[in-house]
Symmetry: C2
Subunit: 244 residues, 2 copies
């Protein structure tokens, strides 16, 4: 039997999603407690790993198990065992042709940031200070420059093994959440390693006047990581949802 | 000379604003470092204390000192000495007729909350889960019931010594910030002890169908704390600004 599991986590205290020896990871914690419940190792497959410090409102995984399990009970057991910063939202039975990674059609990420002269401690709990004097209107305008099917080589960490760097962005915009508090929201068919954080760094450069809105097309066609902005901190990044 | 100081803090790790013996408070930390800089005790007067766990985007204080100080330098020194969750935004010289508390005309508070079946760890960093099945539209509609000049005795912690419980609310509304994430924003000429948190608890009761929008007027005129909702947790509460 295959089961789809919807999970939510605060990535602050984890070395990312994927298991790594001697590091505390989201996958490691969940597999440990699944193992405690079923007395065997049950690997989970995710829609895509998230980096150290990245959170998820709703991440999708699947796992296979011979037994016919009571989904609500297993979710409750897991939540009782797991730390509070990892929560199982629900578990449901799916067909074997469902695959958390390969069946995913769209993902939406959010990046929480604020514009501050100094740090704003309340915002620091969940958002990143992009500095003072940043022109938010230019950043808002620039978002549309990423929409469409593009080769995102210039917006991908250089140490990646992925060959096809074409990705389609369906929607990208910035919402104001409060005084100088914003989130960048981006939906695409998939994202390269560090892609959202590099797009975000490029938007900040545009807001600071270091790059122009028109530069986005040039940076994309250059396919060169050196031309895009810096990789913004993981803290503000949240996987909002995965669509199938 | 009198100086106005704008400060910002995350209240999570403090026993509120006001000094208390053997407890770590915002005022205590700031007065300690002002004392370290000027080699004497300099009491600070705030627009109003905030409770344990309550944060501020921009809180106002004043202090008096004989010396003519370099405001930017003192702010920098303080920021170097203070923990990162308390920040001095700026300091400026003001007339002696300015008083952080008595001169304040309006205050705006925000309360961050989300509607979740289980906790959402990323939202837990800064917002309070009000439970599942809460009708946000009813809550939005109910906000206007608090606007106007009212006797807020029913929305005040019972252990208060304040006699005049008339307060005027100028504006109250709920903004959506994300998937099931909201903030309640309220501006008034002043707030009684726990008033925003009790209003928020009453809004949640209305969202849960335990109380109706029409009940607000009855609760206000009853002047009885027993008729309003519970005091919501301090974590979601943030003093946004003080106007003079």
């Amino acid at each position: 039997m295959r089961y789809l599991m919807r999970i939510s986590y605060d990535g602050t205290n984890y070395s990312g999603f994927q298991c790594q020896s001697n590091k505390t990871t989201i996958q490691g914690e969940i597999e440990k407690e699944l193992g405690n419940i079923f007395k065997k190792h049950i690997p989970i497959v995710t829609s895509g790993r998230t980096d150290a410090g990245v959170s998820a409102l709703s991440q999708i995984c699947h796992f296979d198990i011979d037994d016919d399990i009571e989904c609500n009970k297993v979710a409750s057991y897991l939540n009782a065992l797991l730390p509070r910063d990892i929560r199982i939202l629900d578990i449901k039975k799916v067909d074997y042709d469902f695959h958390a990674r390969y069946s995913s059609k769209k993902k939406t990420y959010e990046y929480y940031f604020y514009i501050g002269h100094d740090i704003i401690p309340f915002y620091e709990k969940f958002a990143v200070n992009v500095g003072y004097g940043v022109d938010i209107d230019k950043m808002k305008l620039a978002c549309s420059g990423f929409v469409g099917l593009h080769d995102f080589s210039a917006f991908c960490a250089s140490n990646t093994s992925v060959k096809d760097k074409n990705r389609e962005i369906y929607e990208a915009y910035i919402d104001q959440l409060g005084d100088n508090l914003y989130k960048f929201v981006v939906t695409g068919n998939g994202f390269l390693y560090n892609m959202v954080r590099i797009i975000m760094g490029t938007l900040v450069d545009i807001g600071m006047g270091k790059k122009s809105v028109e530069d986005i097309g040039k940076i994309l066609s250059s396919r060169d990581r050196k031309n895009s902005g810096k990789t913004m901190p993981s803290k503000g990044l949240v996987l909002k949802k995965v669509l199938y």
